[in-house]
Every structure is written in C-alpha cells, then in structure tokens.
Amino acid sequence: MTFDLIVNVAWKEEILDPAGQSTTKVLQQMGYAVDNVRIGKQIRLQVEAQDQDRALEAGREMAKRLLANPVMETYTVQVVEA
C-alpha cells in the first residue's frame, strides 16, 4: 500500500535562523505585528509499506538518516489520511 507522509523539519531552538530573522524584519517593515519567524522544511513523500505503522517507521528512519541533520534540526513525521 502507498502512504503519503509529511516530514516537518525545523531548526533546533538554539540554532540561529538567519533567513527567519530577515523575514521577520521584512514583515515588520511591511507593517505586520509579527515576531520569531522560523523557516523549516515540509517534506512530502509517498512510501510503500504494509501498513501505516511501518510507513511511519520508515518515515522516521529516513528523517533520522537523511532528511534532518540531528546536530541542528528536529523533525516530526505524520501520515496524511486519505
């Protein structure tokens, strides 16, 4: 069976996010009352697996091995319900 997964990857809190910082600034200049913009990744993919648990399991493994860098990033994995 094919499962749609979403892997969200975010900078660890203590890691500086320059792109987020400059986006914060630009949004403030545009007149928005915003703060703490942090720009992470949202990765969507399709995985073949026997069941949802195994799909999630594969997703977590891929996140850990490739999609996120544990030195600076955290991740969450979820299955998109059809």
């Binding site: 500086l16 792109a19 091995r65 490739l66 030195v71 600076m72």
Partner: protein, 227 residues
C-alpha cells in the same frame, strides 16, 4: 604518493584540485562516487562543488554515496588522511566523520571573497604549519557557517580540533572578521586523520591568482615541508 580525488555528481572543483596536485608533482587519482572499493591510494580529497546541487542540505545527499562507506572504513582501519574542501567538508560533517554541521551563511547569501585564516591547532600529519600562522585563501559558499551542538564548542577547542579561524590580516580574530556567521569564526576543523575546511586551497596556488598559501597548505597536508 597517490591522492584520490572523489567526484560526486555536481562536484565542480574536482578538476581544479587535480590540477593543484599536478602542480605539486603529486599523482591525483580521479574517483567516482559509485565506486564501492577504493583503489590503492595514500590519501583522499573530497573536493568542493555542489554535489546534488546542494539540494536538501549541502553535502547531505552525497554523504550517502556508495563510496563513503569505503572512505569511512579506510579512516577507521588505516587512519587514511582525508581532506574535505568546502562541499567536501560539508559531506564529511553530514557523514559524521567530522563533528558539527554547516548552516546557511548569516547573510542568507552565497559569498565569494578572500579571507585571512589563522591556524589554531595543527591537525595530525600536517608538516610545516604552526599555531598562529596566517594563510590567505578564498571562500565561495552558501552554507558555510560552522555550528556545533550546544556545549560542545569548548570540547572542540580543548581537544585541539579547531584548525582554522577567520581573522583579520594581523591574525586578530573577532566578529568583524567573521564572513559567514560561523561559531567562534571557525573555518576548518579536524578529527584524527580527517580534516575539513571551507576555504579553497586549490584556488591559491599562484601569486597571479591572488595567493600561494593554498600551495603551502596542500604541501603541509601532504606532509612535505614547503621550501
């Protein structure tokens, strides 16, 4: 002396690196990322470039390349000297062969400039370099800000793993001499026989290109005293 230079798809400083080795009279052996076994070589260089277009994170996709398992093994079993330049440095960090990671530059932009680098601790095997030496070499990268996990920085310094720092022409290291937002101005580090740096020694091989310090650097890595 035979030095393997590993090309990944998207590597683009591989030829420059082979040329630099040739200029030093050293035999460079081009290697392709899909090779699963290393031919007989004495040393390895992971050259600069945009392996896999720097997609996902610089170096992340190349770190999974088939040849990296043999590189890992050669380091573990024979203490193979391995040098990662720019993208090569990123690949080594992503593979966990060097500590830390390389984040996007603080400006969010690619940056190509000449920098002065101060030697902090001389890595194992380098000949003719000493603490406090200054080298002028160019940088050219988008994701070159070195980062470590919180609390780990002092360990790196204590263990003598911090190799190069961005400094001013007099060797002073401060915030204004930090081109990319690297923690503690770090431009290069080492771990055992593995060394990585963001600057490009292969581009500083002649005065007419701006500096000969890259020649000095590579000779030191090759274990030859520069005359």
């Amino acid at each position: 002396m035979r030095v393997g230079v590993i090309s990944f798809p998207g590597s683009n400083c591989d030829d420059d690196t082979l040329n630099a080795l040739a200029a030093l009279g050293v035999e460079g052996v081009p290697l392709w990322y899909q090779q699963t076994e290393l031919p007989p070589v004495d040393r390895l260089i992971l050259p600069g470039g945009f392996s896999y277009g720097d997609y996902l994170r610089s170096g992340a996709l190349a770190a999974q390349a088939p040849i990296m398992a043999s590189v890992e093994q050669a380091i573990a079993t024979q203490a193979m000297p391995v040098l990662g330049i720019c993208n090569g440095f990123q690949i080594l960090c992503e593979r966990g062969l060097l500590p830390g990671a390389l984040r996007p530059n603080v400006s969010g932009e690619f940056l190509c400039t000449w920098e002065t680098l101060r030697v902090v601790s001389v890595p194992q095997g380098f000949v003719g370099l000493k603490t406090g030496d200054l080298l002028r070499m160019p940088i050219a990268h988008h994701e070159g800000a070195f980062a470590v996990e919180p609390g780990f920085l002092s360990t790196l310094f204590d263990q003598g793993q911090v190799f190069l720092q961005y400094s001013d022409p007099d060797g002073q290291v401060h915030a204004l001499t930090n081109p990319n937002g690297s923690v503690a101005n770090i431009a290069g580090i080492s771990q055992g026989s593995v060394t990585g740096l963001m600057p490009h020694p292969e581009r500083a091989m002649a005065q007419y290109l701006g500096s000969v310090d890259g020649r000095r650097f590579l000779k030191a890595w090759l274990g030859e005293e520069d005359q």
